[in-house]
């Protein structure tokens, strides 16, 4: 190694790979080294559910940047490399690659260690402190491989959790003709993102034979010899227990930041359980950055610390870490906007900002509107439901949720209004693009704002 800066990145997920890419763009001369414990280069975690149904044909299609790509970009990617210890005084990393001990000096270190699945307390879920066969998370290609091989000999599945990953997994199992039941402990689907009224609109779009039990706790797994036989779902209101026969179980009960190494290195872990980072993706320790699911940052609206499991924010924090660690400057907004999207049974959904329950310290006014993608006289209009939440005292937009036509792009526009600290009176006057084959003169989001403005007695 010549006398160049060593930028070492732990983890080659979306954040690790992106940080490396932007570090390289910023400084053509540094040594950039990624240490990844798994055997795959950067792949899409978010794409995993779609390999189950075959929408994405092969697990290898998930690989976004190959080993060759990193080589060409002059980034050293070391797979199957487990970091054991970080000496922040000597700026030294001790790792093990297939039983071989490695020592690497770093000038800048970026944690991109991601998150681990949260495992809920279900009776018989573990044996000898290990998750039993037939119960899977869906976070890695390794998890996917297990599910793909299980599916071949299965007819029934239970998914625990009706958030994004749970519903995406359930849809793809359903499309693979697996009889699927979803168990959700909270009282509506997408409980951490959508308000209950929007969840109801979404639930209407999901086929009735994909059963979703909300307000139910998965309490106990029953086995028959070595195989899973059923799972007990307990109604939280009535305490009634339902036995659901199933061949396997997918856990989609959220994740927690993987902070073990960072914590041992002395990085501050925040109230939300992630590595605390600032708007440059710096940790509290000099020359150490962190990006993605292992971090915690602030909510843009509430300013409360939060972890977020979104690829979009991971990538943006990684851009900041990559650029800032390499002599450039990239300052992130003051918090996560938390813009999200997905698609369920051909219905796009999206949102930005906290849902109403996370805004209970604010005085919120909201409205919802069912519009169409096209003017009424133009055939082929598709439904769009939009809800917007506004902070009453300031008129500022605090969040929005959308279901239907081009939901994500509409939410991006609202996210832009939030980032621009725009109040509802300004935003509702936004001149949106209009032409009969594309959109109406007043978009659904404009009309929602008009309703809110009227509620604020400002018409």
């Amino acid at each position: 190694l010549e006398n160049k800066e060593n930028i070492v990145i732990i983890g080659c997920g979306a954040s690790g790979g992106t940080a490396a890419q932007f570090a390289r763009k910023t400084n053509r001369k540094s040594n950039i080294i990624i240490l990844e414990k798994g055997k795959y280069p950067q792949y899409s975690k978010c794409g995993i559910p779609y390999v189950i149904s075959g929408i994405i044909p092969e697990k290898n299609d998930l690989i976004e940047f190959s080993e060759e790509w990193f080589k060409k970009a002059n980034i050293q990617l070391s797979l199957k490399t487990i970091v054991e210890k970080i000496d922040t005084k000597k700026q030294l990393i001790i790792a093990k690659k297939e039983e071989k001990r490695i020592e690497i000096k770093y000038d800048k270190l970026i944690f991109a260690t991601g998150a681990k699945p949260f495992v809920p307390p279900i009776q018989n879920l573990k044996e000898d402190n290990k998750i039993i066969k037939g119960v899977y998370s869906l976070r890695t290609i390794n998890d996917l491989e297990k599910i793909l091989s299980t599916i071949k000999k299965s007819k029934k599945a239970v998914v625990i959790g009706a958030g994004f990953i749970g519903l995406e997994t359930a849809e793809n199992l359903y499309k693979k003709n697996i009889e699927t039941v979803v168990i959700e402990a909270l009282d509506h689907i997408m409980p951490n993102s959508f308000d209950i009224d929007m969840s109801k609109v979404l639930k209407e779009k999901i086929p009735k034979d994909l059963e979703i039990l909300t307000n139910h706790l998965a309490t106990r797994i029953n086995k028959n010899h070595d195989k899973i036989k059923s799972i007990i779902a307990k109604n939280k209101k009535t305490n009634e227990e339902t036995e659901i026969h199933t061949d396997f179980i997918v856990l989609a009960t959220g994740v927690k930041p993987d902070v073990k190494l960072a914590k041992e290195a002395g990085c501050e872990i925040g109230d939300a359980g992630g590595i605390k980072v600032n708007n440059k993706s710096e940790t509290n320790i000099k020359n150490i950055y962190a990006a993605g699911d292992c971090t915690e940052y602030y909510d843009y609206i509430t300013a409360k610390p939060k972890t977020i499991g979104l690829g979009s924010t991971a990538v943006r924090q990684a851009i900041a870490a990559g650029i800032n660690s390499s002599g450039g400057t990239y300052i992130l907004p003051k918090g996560f906007l938390s813009t999200y999207t997905s698609e369920f049974f051909n219905v796009e959904i999206a949102g930005v900002g906290p849902s109403q329950k996370d805004l209970n310290e604010f005085d919120i006014v909201n409205a919802k509107y069912n519009g169409l993608s096209h003017p009424h006289y133009f055939p082929g209009g598709k439904p769009i439901t939009i809800k917007i939440l506004v902070d009453k005292p300031t008129g500022m937009i605090a969040g929005a949720q959308a279901i239907g036509d081009k939901a994500a792009q509409r939410i991006n526009t609202i996210a832009c209004a939030i980032l621009g600290e725009m109040d509802i009176e300004t935003f509702r006057k936004l001149e949106t693009a209009y032409a009969p084959p594309v959109s109406p003169t007043l978009e659904a989001e404009t009309i929602v704002c008009d309703i809110i403005s009227k509620k604020l007695k400002k018409i």
Copy 2:
């Protein structure tokens, strides 16, 4: 009439109808009277081309709000009513309805008189100072009726003008199996909206057998007895003349504001030829407002006066006129953002702000990027080309143009950034919604901004 305010609106197009609607929403008690010279209530002018091909099945489908609707809304709509004179001292309107003279007192008057087609100087276009049979504009249902009846006995058409209306008309004629040639005097299609490079991208999406002659002037019409035989298109560079045989001709060469009545009433007509209005849609005369195609206002970016023939701005000015004339307050942004969209042969296009030629007094940096709607690993991604123009000294976004996937909604987001006076450094950090079946982690518009930021040496 009881002793209520009389709000009189001249014209029942999108602006007139919308102004009435919002005047009614603002004040439940006023008398609202619309005087419309034509025989139809509020209909969509922008929808007219699509009746030619049958995408919109019937001309009556274009009617957005029927006479019954206005009646129910307690708005008096008087059709076939021609305003002859306005006495601004007495606040009195003199009109004629089917030879009957009417006098109406107004407390507030709103001009929504729209615009008239511009008729280019083409030899033999007129006889006895009237446009000859076989040459049509496409602005009213009356025009449409003529074209619909002509089409039945026609095989060939020429459209003059390759702006929105020209291209939309040409596409619908083409879909009706009419052999169509478009003649455009300027050097590229969409010359007033798109930069030449974006026009080229769009032109690639138009079938080759829909011929478009750019840089050609339509100079002379040749007739055969009473019928049109051909039109001469002269190459502006070589002066070469081409004779194009055609059965009829559609003029799509733009419009000019209809300001006759307003001018006679003493309203100030601005440099761009429209009724000058402010951010409340007020004219210079007390109690008189104007909205839509008959007005001129400012360009948001250049601050120059401009007329604009967009339904989206017409409706917004009309909301302002309706609310402000009725005791409410609705302040428009400081200028037209000029957000536009259309769809040609299933390709959506959109833009916001001036094109580069209208920004020649500014120091502009721009970039263009060809992206995909989806991450590369997810099947079915559709192309999207986005160009963004940025004012170099301030970093402010001055305009954008898009072709392809969800172009209009993407442009709405950029329009929001412009309205929020957001610079490129802020906008490029916007957290956009990401999920494999919907969108990539970094949208094309984000990547364009990154390129521009790099050009500004700010990476």
